[in-house]
C-alpha cells in the first residue's frame, strides 16, 4: 500500500477526481469548498487539463453540461447556496442523461445562511435538486479517505448509469485533514457513442436534448429512466453497519454526524446499552434493506442529523414506521456532540421504544 498523506477532504476530492481521469473542472468560489477550485487551478494546467473559474454557478454547471455532452469526465463543486443555483443544470443533466460529478460541501441555510457545516441539503440532494422526475446518485463520505474513494466511485457510477453523481459532504468533511491512501483503482470511462464529438461524417448526428413536446414520448423517457434507477437501487446501495448484530437502539447518521455518533455508540456500549449504528453511504439510493431488517429487532431508531430532520423521513419510510424514530439534531452550522447523542440513546433505552 502506498504511503498515506495528510490531506484536507476538499483536496482529497480534487486529487481523486484527477486520478479518475477528470480533466475538466468548472467552479465558482464559495466557502467551505474553495480548496477544490484552488487545487484544480494549480494541478489542471500541469496535466493538460482545464480549470475554469466560471462567472457563476449557473455557468459552471452548464460548462459541465457541455463537457459531459462531449463524453468526458467532468465535475463542478460548490456549497449549498451555489448548489441551489446549479439546480437548473442538474435537472437538464438528468433530462439529457448526461454523466457528471457534482460536489456539495454543505453549509448552514436557508438563504445565505452561514459557512459552518450542515446537512440540511439532504432533501435537495436526494430528491433531485431541480424540477422534474429524476434522481442523482448521492454519496455521503464520512472520512477523508472516503471523500477520495467515493469521488472515483461517483465518476464510475455516473458513466455506468448516465446519471449525475453528487458527493454530499459538509464543511467539516471538506476542511478536516486525515491520512489518505491514494493508490486507488479506477475503471476507465466506457465508450460513449451518444456523445456529441462531431459526426466525422461517419454517422447520423447525435443530439443531446431534454426537450420532448409529445407527452407520450416524454412519459416513456421518464419510465425508462426510472427502470434504470431501479437497477441502481438494486445494485449500488451502500451502507455500513456498526455493532448492529445485537443492537436494541439503532442510531443512524451519515457524514460527520456518523463520526460523532460512533463515539456515542461506543460510550453507550461501555454503559451496557446495546446501541448500534447504520450509516448510509448512498443517500440515494437509500439503503432500505438494513433498516427494514433492523425494524424487526431494535426498539428505537435515532436519526442524528445536522438539520431540522430530513433523513429521518427516509428512515421512517424504510422501517415502515414499525418502531419509533426520534431526531437528535443541531442546525444552522452547529454539530451535535457525542454527549447529546449519548443522552438520546440513554433516553431511548429507558423508554424501551415506547413513545
Amino acid at each position: 500500500m502506498a504511503d498515506k498523506v495528510l490531506m484536507k477532504g476538499n483536496e482529497a476530492i480534487a486529487e481523486a477526481a484527477i486520478i479518475a481521469g477528470c480533466r475538466h473542472y468548472f467552479g465558482y468560489p464559495i466557502t467551505p469548498q474553495t480548496e477544490i477550485a484552488a487545487y484544480m487551478a494549480k494541478k489542471m494546467p500541469k496535466i493538460g487539463g482545464v480549470f475554469l473559474q466560471a462567472e457563476s454557478e449557473i455557468a459552471a454547471i452548464n460548462m459541465v453540461y457541455g463537457v459531459a455532452s462531449a463524453g468526458k469526465r467532468v465535475m463542478t463543486s460548490s456549497s449549498s447556496p451555489g448548489v441551489s443555483l446549479k439546480g437548473e443544470g442538474l435537472s437538464y443533466l438528468a433530462g439529457a442523461d448526461l454523466p457528471s460529478l457534482i460536489v456539495n460541501v454543505q453549509r448552514g441555510g436557508p438563504g445565505l445562511g452561514g459557512i459552518q457545516p450542515s446537512q440540511s441539503d439532504y432533501f435537495q440532494a436526494t430528491r433531485g435538486g431541480g424540477h422534474g422526475d429524476y434522481h442523482m446518485i448521492v454519496l455521503a463520505p464520512a472520512s477523508v479517505q472516503e471523500m477520495a474513494e467515493l469521488t472515483i466511485k461517483g465518476f464510475e457510477l455516473a458513466d455506468t448509469y448516465r446519471m449525475t453523481s453528487m458527493i454530499l459532504a459538509d464543511g467539516t468533511m471538506g476542511q478536516m485533514m486525515e491520512p489518505v491512501a491514494l493508490d486507488l483503482k479506477v475503471n476507465p470511462a466506457p465508450e460513449k457513442p451518444w456523445a456529441t464529438t462531431g459526426t466525422k461524417l461517419q454517422r447520423e448526428h447525435n443530439i443531446i436534448n431534454s426537450l420532448s413536446l409529445i407527452p407520450e414520448e416524454l412519459e416513456k423517457f421518464n419510465f425508462d429512466r426510472y427502470e434504470r434507477y431501479k437497477i441502481v437501487e438494486e445494485k449500488e446501495t451502500m451502507y455500513e453497519e456498526y455493532m448492529m448484530e445485537d443492537a436494541d437502539i439503532c442510531v443512524t447518521a451519515f457524514g460527520i454526524a456518523a463520526r460523532v455518533s460512533k463515539n456515542a455508540v461506543d460510550e453507550a456500549r461501555k454503559r451496557g446499552i446495546k446501541a448500534g449504528m447504520i450509516r448510509p453511504i448512498t443517500l440515494w439510493p437509500f439503503p432500505v434493506a438494513p433498516f427494514a431488517k433492523a425494524a424487526d429487532k431494535v426498539k428505537e431508531f435515532i436519526s442524528v442529523e445536522l438539520s431540522m430532520g430530513q433523513m429521518i423521513e427516509d428512515v421512517k419510510l424504510a422501517t415502515s414506521c414499525k418502531r419509533p424514530v426520534t431526531l437528535c439534531n443541531r442546525a444552522g452550522g452547529m454539530i451535535p456532540d457525542p454527549e447529546q447523542v449519548l443522552r438520546a440513546i440513554e433516553a431511548a433505552a429507558k423508554n424501551g421504544g415506547v413513545r
Partner: protein, 179 residues
C-alpha cells in the same frame, strides 16, 4: 492514553493551524491514526484561529475536539474561551508572554511558556508556536529528534526546506525551557 485530543488556539497569524498540522503529521509518522480540523471562515483572517487534532491508536471517531486533553492557548481570548472545556486531569499550555493571568482550574496541569518572548529573544521570529509545541512534546514524553525531523519534513514543503532547522531549533528551545 490511547487517544489524545488536542486543541490549539490563538490569533490568526500565530501559526496555530501549522502547529496542529505538525502534531498530526508527527502522529502519522509515528504510525498513529490522526485527524486535524481547523476553524474556518472570517475568523481565520486575524481573529481567533483554532484547530482540533486527535492522535489515537485506533480509528478516530468524531474529529471535533470539544473537551481537549491538551489545550494550547496562545492568547488570552483562547484561554478564556477554552479553559473550562479541558478534561479534568488534562494539560494546559499557555503562552505567558501574551497571557498575563493564571489558569483558574485546579484539576489540570498547567505549563506557562513565554513563547513569544523566547522567540524574539532568540531570533526565532514568529516561531512561538513551535517553541510551545516543543514543550508539549517534552511534557508528553514524545520528543524524539528523529520523529520530530521526520514530521517537520512532511509539514514543511520542499520549497521552504530552509525553514527546517529553525523550526527544530525552536522546538528544542521549548523542550528545554524550565519555568
Amino acid at each position: 492514553m490511547s487517544t489524545t485530543k488536542f486543541l490549539f488556539s490563538g490569533f490568526g497569524g500565530q501559526g496555530i493551524l501549522f502547529a496542529g498540522k505538525f502534531i498530526a503529521y508527527k502522529g502519522l509518522t509515528d504510525g498513529k491514526q490522526v485527524s486535524w480540523l481547523p476553524s474556518y471562515g472570517p475568523e481565520m483572517r486575524g481573529g481567533t484561529a483554532s484547530c482540533s487534532v486527535i492522535v489515537s491508536d485506533s480509528a478516530v471517531g468524531s474529529p471535533i475536539v470539544s473537551k481537549p486533553d491538551v489545550l494550547v492557548a496562545m492568547n488570552l481570548p483562547s484561554l478564556d474561551r477554552f479553559e473550562d472545556a479541558v478534561e479534568p486531569g488534562g494539560i494546559i499550555f499557555a503562552d505567558s508572554t501574551l497571557i498575563e493571568r493564571k489558569v483558574k482550574r485546579t484539576d489540570v496541569t498547567v505549563y506557562y511558556v513565554p513563547a513569544t518572548r523566547l522567540a524574539s529573544e532568540n531570533g526565532l521570529g514568529n516561531l512561538a508556536n513551535m517553541i510551545i509545541i516543543g514543550k508539549v512534546l517534552k511534557v508528553l514524553d514524545d520528543f524524539g529528534d528523529d520523529s520530530v525531523a521526520a514530521a517537520l519534513k512532511k509539514v514543511i514543503s520542499a520549497k521552504h526546506a530552509d525553514m527546517m532547522d529553525i523550526n527544530a531549533k525552536a522546538m528544542r528551545l521549548g523542550a528545554e525551557y524550565q519555568e
